[in-house]
């Protein structure tokens, strides 16, 4: 909570290029590639990814206005807001959603669907966007919202396996989005 409350709500950092912040991992690369592809293909907006070693660096980048959206899971988010883990996944999601919006101007979208990503155990993973980004790109809630519930645990495992066996994240993302008729 201290980390969130000490940082003032950032001024708009939206430029013509949007930046996704992701942890430099297989999951971070694949999910950010999915976001980059669907946003750029569906809204004509240029989107790039910035990778970070860990959550601290990622959140520093958010505070420094270097990142417009990120990919986050509810387990790590609870640690960041200094709340103890909850057994109820939906309640956890509601807690982080309301806290992030209130204290940091970050909006949690509906989860991708898988529960066992990122080595965090059972946890929701979802796109998280800055409010000012949504104000200047009002089509994003609709477009990013299309990813809700599209990646179950099996699909997640398949996507990560494809990436780890040498396929580029962009190709993994495109193939996935095409299979869902999202691009």
């Amino acid at each position: 909570m201290l980390m969130l409350t000490c940082v003032p709500i950032a001024d708009a950092c939206v430029g013509k290029t949007l930046y996704i912040g992701a942890i430099d991992s297989a999951e971070g690369q694949v999910l950010s590639a999915i976001l980059v592809t669907i946003i750029s293909e569906r809204t004509g907006t240029t989107v790039n990814t910035r990778y970070y070693k860990n959550a601290r660096e990622l959140y520093d980048a958010v505070s420094a206005k270097q990142v417009d959206m990120l990919i986050e899971n509810t387990a790590r988010a609870m640690r960041i807001i200094n709340k103890p883990p909850e057994g109820d996944l939906q309640r956890t999601y509601e807690t982080v959603k309301s806290t992030y919006e209130k204290y940091r101007g970050l909006i949690w979208f509906k989860p991708f669907g898988f529960l066992n990503g990122g080595g965090e155990g059972q946890s929701y993973t979802a796109p998280v966007l800055k409010v000012e980004v949504l104000n200047n790109f009002p089509a994003l809630p609709r477009v990013v919202g299309k990813l809700a519930g599209t990646i179950n645990d099996d699909t997640y495992a398949r996507l990560i396996k494809s990436f780890e066996s040498g396929e580029k994240a962009q190709k993994v993302a495109r193939d996935f989005l095409k299979s869902k008729k999202l691009i």
Partner: protein, 327 residues
């Protein structure tokens, strides 16, 4: 000081004259005091007045980029030079992308945007409306169309179910919001009822939308009436190839607004120069005499009130657009 001087004056007959002299001196001193006070007051007021400060600086006009930065500056630099000439102060034209406008508005003096951006900036930044632009068959109003090819088989909005659609810039009220409003009010949710929809990348999005429909890439498109009319007039498309499936409600077209940085009297003068602008008014720019309105591709400016934008506000609420978005 006068009391102190009276004590020094003597008494007796000469006192009357002395009193008269004193009264005359009092009046003179009072007059001088009033004069000095008034002078100082005027001096202080004039130094503190925003208009006096602003007269000595360059005013910034932010022009929303319509099709491309180059095109926007080509259209509006002559108007900006004309305003400088008429107002007697330098103005600078700055072309700003729609998605960057709200970030930069606080650095501007005047804004030239579409009606949705005005509504957003009015609510969030205190920008006030000055004048609306007139162009095309609707004058100072604009309208969004949903177009399709005549041979598409699509005749009504409900026929769009299961079809693909291309939209223009999202912050364009007649290229996205008006059409979204029409779809939603006819029970078509783009997320569930269209087979696919997208927004083209890069510049000249309105034209890309119309060409996207013409060349069959999409079943239907969301285009502003004015851009459609211009392409027909230029001979780039044949209007007979298209069918207008639906029209959004008319809303104010592009407009000039003033930010909180500018003094009221200066803003009124600015507005009057716009309203007085006539066909045939010219300005010299880069060594060339340019017709101001022709170059800006507009017919003139007209008075408009903030309440004229209420239709835009209601549309933004219905479509969950800024400044009323809820997540």
């Amino acid at each position: 000081m006068i009391q102190r001087r009276a004590q020094v004056l003597g008494s007796g007959k000469g006192r009357i004259f002395q009193c008269r002299a004193l009264l005359r001196e009092c009046a003179a001193v009072m007059t001088l005091r009033v004069f000095i006070s008034s002078f100082l007051l005027l001096f202080v007021l004039s130094c503190g007045s925003p208009s006096a400060k602003q007269e000595n600086r360059t005013y910034k006009i932010g022009y929303m980029i319509c099709n491309s930065e180059q095109e926007t500056l080509l259209r509006f630099r002559p108007l900006t030079a004309y305003l400088s000439k008429k107002m007697g102060v330098p103005f600078e034209a700055i072309a700003i992308d729609t998605v960057d406008f709200t970030r930069q508005v606080d650095e501007l003096d005047f804004t030239h945007t579409n009606s949705l951006l005005y509504v957003i900036m009015n609510r969030n930044h205190g920008v006030e409306i000055l004048a609306a632009e007139e162009s095309g068959s609707l004058g100072a109003r604009a309208k969004g169309l949903i177009i399709t090819l005549k041979n598409s088989g699509i005749r009504t909005v409900k026929d769009l179910k299961g079809k693909s659609m291309v939209f223009g810039p999202v912050l364009g009220p007649t290229s996205y919001m008006a059409q979204l409003d029409v779809l939603l009010s006819n029970g078509i949710d783009p997320e569930n009822d269209l087979s696919f929809y997208a927004i083209p990348p890069g510049s000249y999005k309105h034209e890309k939308v119309i060409y996207g429909v013409l060349f069959g890439k999409f079943d239907a498109g969301a285009a502003p009436l004015l851009d459609f009319e211009r392409m027909v007039k230029d001979g780039r498309i044949d209007g007979n190839d298209f069918l207008v499936v639906a029209e959004g409600e008319p809303i104010p077209y592009c407009n000039f607004g003033v930010t909180q940085k500018v003094d009221d009297s200066f803003a009124k003068r600015f507005k009057q120069v716009l309203l007085n602008l006539k066909k045939g008014d010219t300005v010299e720019i880069d060594g060339e005499v340019v017709n101001v309105l022709d170059r800006a591709q507009i017919d003139g400016y007209t008075d408009v009130q903030d309440k004229d934008f209420d239709a835009v506000r209601e549309m933004a609420k219905r479509t969950n657009m800024p400044p009323y978005q809820r997540f």
